[in-house]
Symmetry: C2
Subunit: 259 residues, 2 copies
């Protein structure tokens, strides 16, 4: 699109790439489970990855993923994606209850529910720190949108040797991670034991929980983690590093590294 630039006291018009953000509704066996604002592309991976990371599959195999195209043809039919397990996955429960519940249900319970079902990760050899600091550059080869729009986040799965296996981008960091996890799920590559996950930007609780659910042993972020992200990584047995740049990083979990 054309944008008006104000610089050095003067206005001028120039073309500008803007990242696309559209709602996508995810269904599991025909039940709506979430609507997320996402960058279109790799939608099947996003839907499958979301259902997996949120624990909605409960071990059920994904038999198919498809756009909801049984209604009248319209643009928005490509904004609804259904993950099919043939009814093997449990019926999802609404996250928003309208019953009066006082303190009965709160966010802490939701966090416990997400984490309680997950086993502590198996111990795997730590990935070399110089490999970790090389990943942001290695992964940025697959992050074409960021450089043109400045508005997109990236996620990547990588090996202990520093090989980047999959990179995905999205306006939402959590969606980029769901796309990576969804690709691996659809390819039968989960759990991601021994592999690392890279995210641009910050590491929140949500990203640690998704990495844990997929079985990654290491999560590295370009920016800072939150306190709950650190706490959850320690609980998971996940190696969590932040401010990962060329030649440097901060290790938040485990709490103590052998020096």
């Amino acid at each position: 699109m054309l944008v008006t630039v104000y610089e050095d006291g003067a206005l001028r018009r120039r073309p500008d790439d803007v990242i696309v953000e559209e709602p996508m509704t995810i269904q599991l066996d025909g039940n709506i489970v979430s609507t997320t604002m996402r960058t279109p592309g790799n939608d099947y991976e996003l839907a499958a990855g979301f259902c997996f990371s949120d624990g909605l599959l409960d071990g059920a195999a994904v038999k198919g993923v498809r756009y909801c195209a049984d209604g009248a043809a319209s643009e928005s039919q490509f904004n609804v994606v259904t993950v099919e397990t043939g009814g093997k996955a449990p019926v999802p429960t609404p996250r928003l209850g309208t019953t009066t519940s006082s303190c009965g249900l709160c966010g802490n319970d939701a966090i416990e529910a997400l984490c309680d079902r997950l086993e502590r990760l198996p111990a795997t050899p730590p990935i070399d720190l110089d490999v970790l600091t090389s990943i942001p550059n290695a992964a940025s080869g697959g992050q074409g949108l960021f450089s043109t729009t400045g508005a997109v986040h990236g996620a990547a799965a990588f090996t202990p040797a520093g090989e980047v296996l999959i990179t995905r981008e999205d306006v939402g960091r959590h969606n980029a991670v769901d796309k990576v996890v969804g690709r691996m799920l659809l390819d039968g590559q989960l759990p991601a034991t021994g592999l690392g996950l890279f995210v641009s930007g910050r590491a929140s609780f949500e990203l640690v929980q998704k990495a844990w659910a997929a079985g990654f042993g290491t999560l590295i972020a370009v920016s800072a983690p939150t306190a709950l992200a650190v706490q959850t990584a320690r609980r998971a047995g996940l190696m969590l590093a932040g401010f990962v740049r060329d030649e440097r990083l901060n290790i938040y979990a485990p709490e103590r590294m052998p020096l």
Copy 2:
């Protein structure tokens, strides 16, 4: 907390501030409407602002906001906040239905529902562009957390003269905006006609929708907007600028400025 730093090939330990992220459940007249991951602080503003921005109040006055403290005393009781309208607000409907709905309900409908209820903003005199480029610096005086943690977002309301009225911070950009809007709602200062809203980072659809709902005529962001944010701002009659830094900015809405 203590963090292990890897730099120049060596490991050392040093203290590090990490941003706090905790779940907060928002209730409206006893009905759960949302659980958000937020930085504790200004919780009443966040709850009131969220209910207002999402259109849940439907014109009803807020009679009170309180922590849910009628259960057994526990830490988590400060993670549930109830907004009271004495039943004047409509009963919220679940966002996640478990009925089979095919294409009947999707994210596009949700976006329409959020925007349809909003009137186009009244025309107000445009804020001077040099005032807009001064806001990031002016607002950062109130953004103490960012410099120490590198993980927090800020939002601020400002006047056409460049005076910063309110600044709020949070691990979530949308929460920082809800806190600003909530403060103004509780102070009887909405709609924010003629005022501007500043956000650190990017401008998504969600932020434009919140600015529109609160009546701000101008939204400026430090980073890029999304395509849907631009489209929504044009629909709202909201002035939207991105990449706002010292001395420069990009104007995305209105589509065409008088040159």
